[in-house]
């Protein structure tokens, strides 16, 4: 059932789309956008009746009044919010979903192309990969994004290029009026290329309630390696719908580190990895430390289509106060994907008396010569461990921090970048 107010957001989006069409009549993506918008119109916004949105009610979020386009770009943003101590990186800044060339570093590195999405339409990697992956899923927010996105980041790394420094993409929310933005990214790593992308989601003081609909498509070509960090350290007015779609070729490696900290009121991450070639390796790590009335939902799909691949997934949720964490991890092993090695683990620690965890680790196996396992636990502080520490003169607060650190260690210890690891460990401490 669509309520009256949602109807108006729906109408608002329809009108925005039609206006877009009228203005930029021969837009190169016109046809793609049209199909995408039709797809969105067919399904509308998801409801809790949808299996994938069972625990995630987007209605209250969509019942807010939003404007769809931000004001003119500010010339400065508080980038200290996203500062990672000791990290030396190429900095890219997006303010309210719009690539800010003024605030971003120029990247004069051979083999690396960084462009605002709206200027990337002529790039070869763009024409080849744009909307080829994410749009095949049935997430209506992806369709909406394809139809309406204005900006985003396009990164293309040439074959054999190995980047010396990570690319740090900072998404700043600053608008003082409620904003619903569509951000679209495309990251392509060429053959045997290696790079690191760190994304930070931050909110400036005084920003009004906003909803960000991020869609990222990621392609890792043969032998390429990509380390991808997503760090949500936004403010309470933040609401995020993130969809990351990864496509990997032979011998490639993709690592995703997905962290959420107390802040954004609503976070929904969809991370889908398709292993459509043999000898591919993917790792998905996640930490969600929630507080207040936060809602963090991580949906992942690891789809093994070809033999001899390996995937490894480990998600940790720590819920405080009245917050809610959702985890849904799907692993598919298709008929021909023999010799697959797939592992998935989800551990949850409930600290808040009113907090809740909903988890669904799902395995679908169609091949027999595979090794697949998943595990899931839900628990709380071990009173004996607490006692042990307190008996040694450690304060209760300090003991709790230690225990949560230990709990998160399985995931934090896998971070390839030391600076990011220390930063995340610090945030875990701070978030308690």
């Amino acid at each position: 059932m669509i309520t009256q107010v949602t109807e108006s957001l729906y109408n608002q989006l329809t009108r925005a789309y039609e206006e877009d069409c009228a203005v930029q009549a021969p837009h190169p993506l016109g046809e793609l956008r049209k199909l995408a918008f039709e797809r969105f119109k067919q399904t509308g916004f998801p409801t809790v009746k949808w299996e994938d949105w069972k625990y995630t009610n987007t209605q209250p979020l969509l019942n807010q009044p939003y404007t769809l386009a931000g004001a003119d770009q500010p010339l400065h943003a508080d980038l200290a919010l996203a500062a990672i101590p000791g990290l030396d990186a190429y900095r890219i800044v997006l303010v309210d979903g719009v690539f800010s060339e003024a605030l971003s570093d120029s990247v004069p590195v051979a083999g690396l192309t960084v462009l605002p999405m709206e200027k990337a339409a002529d790039e070869l990697a763009f024409t080849k990969h744009f909307a080829e992956y994410a749009d095949k899923t049935d997430n209506p927010f992806v369709a909406l994004n394809t139809a309406l996105f204005k900006s985003g980041v396009f990164i293309s790394l040439a074959p054999n290029a190995v980047l010396d420094k990570p690319v740090h993409i900072i998404h700043v929310a600053a608008a003082e009026t409620p904003l619903f933005t569509q951000v679209r990214n495309l990251y392509v790593v060429g053959r045997h290329g290696e790079m690191e992308i760190i994304e930070s989601l931050v909110t400036e003081d005084g920003a009004a309630q906003y909803l960000n609909n991020h869609v990222s498509e990621i392609v890792v070509h043969e032998g390429g390696k990509l380390q991808h960090y997503a760090l949500q350290v936004a403010g309470e007015s933040g609401n995020y719908l993130n969809h990351t779609e990864v496509y990997q070729e032979k011998h490639s490696l993709y690592n995703n580190y997905n962290c959420s900290f107390p802040g954004a009121s609503f976070v929904r991450n969809n991370i889908n990895v398709r292993l459509d070639a043999s000898e591919v390796e993917s790792h998905l790590y996640g930490i969600a430390l929630t507080a207040g009335n936060q809602f963090v939902d991580n949906h992942t799909i690891v789809d093994h289509l070809k033999p001899h691949c390996e995937s490894y997934e480990w998600y940790k949720n720590i819920t405080q106060d009245t917050s809610t964490a959702v985890f849904n991890g799907k692993i598919f092993v298709r008929e021909d994907a023999q010799k697959t090695n797939a592992f998935q683990q989800n551990n949850n620690m409930l600290i808040g008396e009113q907090s809740a965890v909903y988890t669904k680790p799902q395995l679908e196996i169609f091949a027999d010569d595979v090794k697949c396992s998943h595990g899931c636990t839900i628990g709380q502080f071990d009173p004996e461990a607490l006692f042990y520490l307190r008996a040694r003169g450690i304060s209760e607060a300090q003991a709790r921090v230690l225990l949560v650190h230990a709990f998160a260690f399985d995931v934090t210890s896998r971070f390839a970048n030391d600076m990011v690891r220390k930063y995340v460990e610090h945030l875990v401490e701070e978030g308690l």
């Binding site: 669904k360 679908e364 027999d368 595979v370 595990g375 899931c376």
Partner: protein, 483 residues
């Protein structure tokens, strides 16, 4: 996969279903079709009181309004509910008082199935049996002996006549008519089933058992089982089922309700061996069953054990509502599918009371081109302080065209609860096989041994007689399946 394996898989596929014979007996079959008249006819045949008829009609009206579900992990075959006959009973004398009055044809049928209805023939009287043939209960053994202890064990029809107050109080209290589409259908047209009542403080002196047999063509079987264990009572109940080999599919939609009051314990075991269809997936039973128990009182316990080897499609989730404090729910399952069989089964554990515990052990074995799904829900309510759940669901794949799926839903709203879930998928280990063959055990027997070992944790939960039968059933079903 080697040729030898292929041959063996073929053999496995062709393994005969030894209960596939039919019994030629004069039947009283209701005309096909589903309407209020059908319900009235069944109700009249069973000489039911007015309230029960009303209850049935309410269910039917609800059923007519419902849509078929679409969430299950298989394509639900189109079932023409108007093309099924909802009542089939052997034509017999109005009331059976002794074994001599039972049609000898029926007796020999159950004899062939290995279920002797003659009390003298049963070894030392370990198990009391209620034999259900199509829509009616044929004979319940050892009734008198049970009566001495106050235990009521009879067909559902008799219970309605003789103990209407108990039936009225508990019928539909765990699985309401509106629960799901097949529960609604069952509530409208159920024909017979078993009724058990164990009075306060009584430990039922023998195992109770119902044996279900579908015989007639173009009928569905809709039985209803209601088991009530009063305070401090204990009962162990077994259920077995078979059906003839037929080319068309038949529907079996049963409802089982268990009620355990304070300190009571119910142990419910099923060995399900309905006709699974032939190797091309033709024929077979659609086994769509709603089974649920409620631990109503404190310290009560309900345990489900199931060995599922039959049926073209098995679709059921025996669950436990843990309402009483310190109550315990258990679920042990072995589901074996082969050829084109489909199974979507698992359990629901709803923790409401404080310090409730549940344990789930599910072992799926898929062979051929079959698909085996585990779907489970563990739900901890906000009031379920200190609750505990342990879930283990393992899948074994034999052959490279079958599928194993797990859909565990875990919902926790209480921070003092502790939950664990683990799942693995594997094939029969080459090293295990090598170890056994190297010691002179032929590969077929070795596979049987390994699978039985794999399922041991569940089979151990079965009462002795059933465990032996189940072990044989698994071995037969898996002969030659070196993967």
């Amino acid at each position: 996969m080697s040729t030898k394996d292929d041959e063996m898989l073929k053999e496995l596929a062709l393994e005969e279903y030894k209960y596939g014979f039919t019994t030629d007996i004069e039947m009283d079959i209701a005309p096909k079709g589903l309407s209020e008249d059908t319900v009235r006819l069944i109700s009249a045949k069973k000489n039911e009181p007015e309230w029960l008829l009303e209850w049935r009609l309410k269910a039917l009206r609800h059923f007519m309004k419902m849509d078929m579900p679409a969430w299950q992990n298989f394509t639900l075959p189109e079932i023409d509910f108007q093309d099924i006959s909802y009542y089939a009973a052997p034509k017999a004398k109005p009331k059976l008082n002794s074994l001599d009055e039972v049609d000898p044809e029926l007796l020999s049928t159950f004899e062939k199935l290995g279920i002797p209805l003659d009390e003298q023939k049963v070894l030392a009287g370990v198990v009391a049996v209620d034999a259900v043939f199509d829509s009616v209960s044929v004979k319940t053994t050892f009734r008198e002996k049970l009566k001495e202890q106050g235990v009521i064990f009879c067909s559902f029809g008799e219970a309605v006549q003789e103990h209407p107050e108990l039936v009225k109080q508990y019928l539909g209290s765990v699985v309401p008519q509106t629960d799901n589409v097949y529960a609604a259908l069952n509530s409208a047209v159920f024909s017979d089933g078993s009724f058990v009542y164990i009075p306060k403080g009584v430990r039922c002196p023998m195992e109770l058992s119902t044996y279900f047999r579908i015989n007639a063509e173009n009928t569905g079987q809709f039985e209803r089982t209601l088991i009530i264990a009063d305070e401090g009572a204990y009962v162990s109940y077994l259920e077995g089922c078979t059906a003839p080999m037929r080319d068309e599919n038949q529907l079996h939609a049963a409802v089982v309700e268990l009620i355990a009051l304070k300190d009571a314990e119910i142990k419910y075991s099923t060995v399900q061996n309905w006709y699974p269809g032939d190797k091309d997936g033709k024929g077979g039973i659609y086994n769509f069953v709603t089974k649920r128990g409620i631990c109503k009182g404190d310290n009560s316990k309900i345990s489900w054990t199931q060995v599922e080897t039959g049926s073209a499609i098995t679709w059921k989730y025996p669950g436990v509502i843990l309402k009483g404090d310190h109550s315990v729910g258990e679920f042990y399952s072995v589901a074996l599918t082969r050829n084109k069989q489909l199974a979507d089964t698992g359990t629901k554990m709803i923790h409401l009371g404080k310090h409730t515990r549940s344990k789930i052990v599910s072992k799926g074995i898929s062979a051929g081109t079959s698909h085996n799904s585990y779907r489970g829900l563990v739900k901890i309510g906000p009031g379920a302080e200190g609750s505990r759940n342990f879930t283990q669901c393992d899948s074994l794949l034999i052959g490279d065209r079958c599928g194993a799926h797990t859909f565990p839903y875990i919902e926790n709203r209480n921070r003092t609860a502790t939950l664990e879930h683990e799942a693995t998928t594997s094939k029969i280990g080459e090293d295990q096989l090598f170890y056994l063959t190297q010691r002179g055990i032929d590969p077929e027997k070795a596979v049987g041994l390994i699978v039985n070992g794999y399922a041991k944790e569940v089979l151990n939960q079965l009462p002795m007689e059933f465990a032996v039968e189940a072990q044989k059933l698994l071995a037969i079903s898996l002969e030659g399946s070196v993967g």
